[in-house]
Amino acid sequence: MKIKGSIRRRLVISLVLLAIIPLLLLGTLLSWQSFVIQQRQIIELQREKALRVLNQIGSIIHKQEELLSNALTIDYYILDIGSEKQGRFLSQMLSFSDESRVSIFNEIALLDSRGQELARESRTSIITPKDLRNRSNAEEFTVPLSKRQTYYGPVYIDDKTGAPFMLMSIPVIDTRNDIVKGVLTAEMRMKFMWDIVDRINVGESGVVYVVDRTGRVIVHPNPSVVLKGEHFDIENKSGISTGLDGSKAVLTNDILSLGTQRLHVMTEIPLVTALKSTYTSLLTIAVFLVLTLTGSVVLGFITVRQIIRPVESLAETALAISSGDIDRKAVVIRNDELGALSESFNIMTSRLAETITSLKNQITEREKAERALSESLREKEVLLKEIHHRVKNNMQVISSLLNLQARQISDKQYIELFNESRNRIASMALVHEKLYNSKDLTNIDFKDYINCLANELFSFYGISPKKILLKISSENIRLPIDTAIPCGLIINELVSNSLKYAFPEGKNGEINIILDKTSADDNDNFYNLTVSDNGIGIPGDLDIRRLKSLGLQLVITLVEHQLKGGMQLDRSKGTLFDIHFKELKYKSRI
């Protein structure tokens, strides 16, 4: 027997389906979630730093604005105090500094309602009245004058120093009548932004920089980026996007609004650096997964092996046993269920072996008995044949004795009686002869018997078959001895009568013997025997039942008493005896 399926393969597939695939799915999901969370956290951390920068810049600028406004609140009448005092006022404002004692303003000017500078003070230059100019068309004048609000100019980089500056103007409102009487404009030093972005660490290689609304980088830890006048497309720059140098980076973009100005505080970390910890986490998860998977696979295979090995051993043992090696034993190496199974299997095979041995013995005994029986049967058959043979021989001896006796008789009538008796004995002996020559000792082929019997009678009476034609018609009918002997005697008598009396003076003729099986039921077979000749026939006035002839009396007796049948005589065309009877059942005589 060949094993087509494999438990090992099924178990391995089950292991893969139940352990490895879920583990892989779980690992992938975990990695992806870790990636998403870490990316979000990186952006949040960057944003936090960007907001810190934004707040610091915004706070300083608003403080500067506040300084200007406060000064004007105190000296709202500044436009009326004359240029000398105005100069001193501006000079005092120019001396304002931040916590680091760094000057806030680079230059400051006071403009009247027509945009004419009334006074101007510079941090580095001497301003004389000749230097005063009209700024009526400048935004720093028109915006605060018309809108009564603070004006913030764009941040610009001084070509000579590379330092950033921004103009801020506030309207000078006469609080007595709420009229804008002029504008105070200051050139603010924005270099503080350099320090702010420089002191913010955004990861190992990240930067914070500031971009104006046109996209020009105005503050960057690397001032050459600013001085080169690099522009950065700030649209949709948040999350993973293209950085300043064109490579992929994690960006945040927070906006500081100053009037119409927009300062974009950007943080940028190269993607590779930003996701370094993410990649490390992913790597850790991957390593963990690989180790777990390896462990699962090894454990799985060990388990499978532990389960499969005894099963395979059992299967191998079972195959060997099925191939005939009944003495093969399963190896019992464990104390678990499989061990118990192996033990039970071995017990089972032992019992099977015992049963087989027992069966073999029984078969041998039976074969011996059969052989003895067969021998006995054969002996009995031989014996039966021998009996039939001896009966036949005895009958022949009787016939011969009658023949010898008949030779001493001169009266033909008596001789004939002896001969008739001899023929009757011969017909019976023929039955025994047929029986012992037959394989079947209970039945004889009756057609063959009729043929032999008729031929012997033809021969006995010295009648050539050419003169009297013998026609035998019969199916293949086998009759038991109890039926065959009376039937044989009947045929003997009737054929003998026809041969003796139907064709006087050497007349030609025809004798017909027909034996048919007419019907059969569950228990009995019914036959019809017709013996006819086309001879002179039996005279019509002759009652056959009253004849003293032993032959016909014997026929009547055998038909009616022994065979329990019936007989009709038809004298219309020669002589025709139509006899019907049923097969006699064997009756145990012992």
């Binding site: 999901l29 975990l30 979630q33 870790s34 969370i37 870490q38 956290q41 951390l45 001193r88 000079s91 005092q92 120019l94 001396s95 500094s97 680091s100 004692r101 760094v102 000057s103 510079s122 941090r123 580095t124 230059s125 001497i126 004389t128 070509d159 000579k160 120093t161 590379g162 330092a163 270099k191 350099w194 320090d195 420089d198 002191r199 660490n201 830890p221 690397n222 001032p223 050459s224 001085l227 910890s277 986490s281």
Partner: protein, 323 residues
Amino acid sequence: MKSSAIIFVILIPLLILLSPMPIYSAHAEGKPFLAGIIRPNAKLQNIVDGFKSGMESYGFIEGKNINYIQPDNVTDIDSVIQDMIAKKVDLLFTITGPVTNKAKQKLKETGIPIVFGAVFNPVETGIVKSIPDPGGNITGIQISGSTEKAFEWLLKAVPQAKFIYVPYSTDSEAHTFIINILEKSAEKSHVELVTARTDTPEELTKALAAIPKNADAIFVPNSPFLISNLETIIKVAIERKLPTGSGTGQYKNGIMITYGQDHFHSGKMASRLAKSVLHDKIPAAALPIETTEFFLGINLQTAKSIGITIPGSILQQADFIVR
């Protein structure tokens, strides 16, 4: 799944919190940086102090991730620079134009970046190509730009002054530039200027002795030589009851009114450039020259010595006052 997300959410901020504060590691191999410092005059030590203080604020801790070499004796500048090269400094911090110029020449092929702490006019003196684009491997803090305003402050303190005496030295190529500014400022302010070249102590003594009688004040231009001999100038000024002004920021050393750099602050500003070079790996040439902050300093002791009363409006605007 949810719990692992929570673990990540808790763990990551925790790890960030527990991560050490940024102390800039030196080289990739973990060796501390080595910075050379050349300070030609003890009066300029404040610049060095400011520089070191600034470096510390950026995470460069002396002895930990940065070491400094600062020889006391810098008489032979060339050999000092040569020594710095031999010791393979990662950065050279220089003070004054002449020292920086020499360092630039010596370090040309070495790849060692130079950050200068106080050079009057690095463009005029040929140290750098331009302020926004210094070129070479050098950057730093320039201290020029305050002369004109310093001159104005002197005149504000002494409004009656009409005749200003200006000694100058040719120790720096910037002297022509300075005199030029002063002349323009005098013209703007309608005052007269008398200049005197003093390249040696003897010449200085001689020039101070020859200050015209009608001189109303002395303006001390930026010059290493004059600063080294400042005591002499101050002594004569007090003797002659002449108010002194300068764009050097030397109010502590006796000048009555100054508008110029504060050494400590200049040094601190320079530290940011050094940090950009050492930590951010930005080439020095990519860092534009920065101009120092200018501070108004008043020495009331000197003012009192020469019998000058500084107006309250000026005192209000002063950043530093020596009383």
